[in-house]
């Protein structure tokens, strides 16, 4: 009997496979391809207190083995989200993790408070988006700022919180320690790596926002290294992501110390990626006679 369950901050997931925020909407678009009941959790696109229109286009560009995006967190705001997206997700037997974004501490707090009586399992706090001018990553690049906002949100949130960390820092372990010290229940990493692409024929920036976040298989080794560093620096659970394309990648992240894993850009490449990973993990467990998937967490020697 294979046990693929994992537990994060008291919340049990049927398996560790989640969707990375911003790559899966609120599940609706991909429910045509994927049985959401088979996923450990759906992590939603970031939602703010009010609708955000996002950045001008072009917002996405392909790069070698990856992609750059500068969507700018376009979202309908928490009121529409509560009315439309949460009821949609409640139809499925999967955990719901709502990604929360904001430009100021009070923005985040407003969203978190509106979600307090909602049937969602956890909140992921996006303090690491590289594509918005104010807020977002500003909170995620200084350990002091990260500590303060984490503490504020932790005090207001009813559900367990996951601080989502940026890789665009000198020492990600220090950031993770700050989040843990302020009471974060878990951390997720990595958000995208800031990048740039230039169109040499037009001599212009390829993205309207000039810079964007790099994701996809190109960033996976960076993400594995950072998950390993963070898992060894804190006691709270780590959710790992960054270029995960298949079950082998997912297992690599777990061995590095991740309790849960999330699929991001690869949803765009193969809409069935998440389901294939769920099946692939089970096959790996059978191959190596692993009864409990949790045995793999941080088991790299």
């Amino acid at each position: 009997m294979l046990n693929t369950e994992i537990t994060i901050a008291g919340v049990t997931f049927k398996n560790p496979v989640m969707t990375a925020s911003g790559t899966f909407g609120s599940g609706m678009e991909y429910s045509e391809f994927v049985d959401l009941n088979c996923l450990g959790a759906v992590v939603t696109k970031g939602v703010a207190n009010v609708p955000w229109e996002g950045n001008p286009t072009p917002r996405v560009q392909e790069t070698y083995g990856g992609m750059l995006n500068a969507i700018g967190l376009q979202n309908p705001g928490i009121d529409v989200f509560i009315e439309r997206d949460i009821p949609f997700l409640r139809q499925y037997d999967t955990r719901i993790i709502v990604n929360v974004c904001g430009r100021s501490v009070s923005d985040y707090v407003e969203v978190v408070e509106k979600l307090s009586d909602q049937p969602v399992d956890m909140l992921e706090i996006n303090v690491s988006c590289p594509n918005v001018q104010h807020g977002g990553i500003a909170f995620g690049q200084d350990p002091g700022c990260l500590f303060d906002i984490t503490k504020e949100i932790r005090a207001k949130a009813k559900q367990p919180i996951i601080m989502k960390l940026s890789p665009n820092v000198t020492d990600i372990a220090e950031m993770a320690r700050a989040a843990e010290a302020a009471g974060s229940d878990a951390v997720s990493l990595i958000n995208t790596i800031t990048g740039m692409k230039i169109d040499i024929h037009r001599r212009t920036f390829a993205l309207a926002n000039r810079t964007g976040g790099l994701s996809g298989p190109a960033i996976k080794p960076v993400a594995v290294r950072m998950v390993y560093q963070v898992a060894n620096a804190v006691k709270i659970p780590v959710i790992g992501m960054g270029g995960i394309a298949n079950a082998e990648d997912a297992i690599e992240f777990m061995l590095a110390g991740a309790t849960g894993i999330a699929v991001g850009a690869m949803n765009f490449v193969n809409p069935y990626t998440t389901i294939e990973i769920v099946k692939g993990i089970e096959a790996y467990m059978r191959q190596y006679d692993i009864g409990n998937l949790t045995e793999l967490i941080g088991a790299v020697r």
Binding site: E29, E53, G54, V60, G65, P217
Partner: protein, 260 residues
């Protein structure tokens, strides 16, 4: 019932029909559900190029279960596609987008206006607007390297404009309309943005509807990533911010509804 899916299809045939323009037929189950103005996303075999290429559907052969795409080589992805021969396996996702509103053509005089690589979807549309009072195709090319003009002429008169004046009216599709004194009650168009803007203005002046097909850099193709948005006049139903997703809310819009 139309359902989006990703499948491994097979190339039935491919040939070059103008410099850099390729004409590919694909054996696929998606042919049965394809509608004029929809598109498919085509994946490369080169795994360093992750994202699929959105390509408009030129026509569907439901009898044999085949889709035709006509595309321009614009980069390494389409360059790879152009090397495919009969029998090549090809991963595609579709059918995507909403297509053209055919009912708007009923009993009307219709213009089908295509510019460059915006011409291909006009073929499926020319086959489908059977209830129109009349149909005129206006096709704009760079030069005498025409493509699809003969196919289109089986369904409607084709009026040609070329930038260099080597065939038909010198100039763009609007110049052809003026030169040939053509009139319509409704316009369907696909082509470069400057052409679509001129058509929008023309339609507004004439007080007639124009349905234009847009393109933008895309990632997912299914409405999740919010990469391919266009500014809209009204609040969009997804994000409530006047940014509609071209892949799922479009790619066809009434010209007066979008801010292009």
């Amino acid at each position: 019932m139309e359902q989006k899916k990703k499948e491994t299809a097979r190339v039935y045939s491919q040939r070059q029909i103008a410099p850099g323009i390729y004409d590919m037929w694909i054996d696929t189950t998606l042919a049965q559900q394809a509608r004029p103005g929809q598109f498919i996303s085509v994946y490369t075999q080169d795994k360093s190029a992750l994202l699929p290429r959105p390509i408009s559907i030129c026509e569907a052969d439901t009898t044999n279960g085949r889709l035709r795409i006509v595309y321009r080589v614009a980069g390494k992805g389409t360059e790879e596609f152009s090397s495919y021969r009969e029998g090549q396996r090809i991963d595609i996702l579709g059918t995507l987008g909403n297509g053209f509103p055919l009912e708007a053509a009923s009993g009307k005089r219709v213009f089908l206006m295509g510019g460059g690589i915006g011409i291909p979807p006009m073929l499926a549309l020319a086959q489908a607007v059977t209830g129109a009072a009349s149909v005129d195709v206006i096709a704009g090319y760079r030069d005498r390297a025409l493509f699809l003009a003969e196919d289109l002429s089986k369904y409607a008169p084709v009026h040609i404009a070329t930038e260099d004046g080597s065939v038909g009216t010198k100039g763009n599709v609007m110049n052809a309309i003026e030169a040939e004194k053509l009139e319509a009650d409704v316009i369907y168009a696909c082509g470069p943005m400057p052409m679509l803007r001129v058509i929008r203005d023309y339609a507004a002046k004439k007080g007639i509807p124009a349905y234009i097909s847009l393109e933008e850099r895309m990632a997912c193709g299914v409405g999740a990533c919010l990469g391919c948005v266009v500014k809209t006049r009204a609040v969009d139903h997804h994000s409530h911010v006047k940014n509609a997703r071209i892949c799922t809310d479009g790619p066809v819009y009434a010209a007066e509804d979008v801010d292009i």
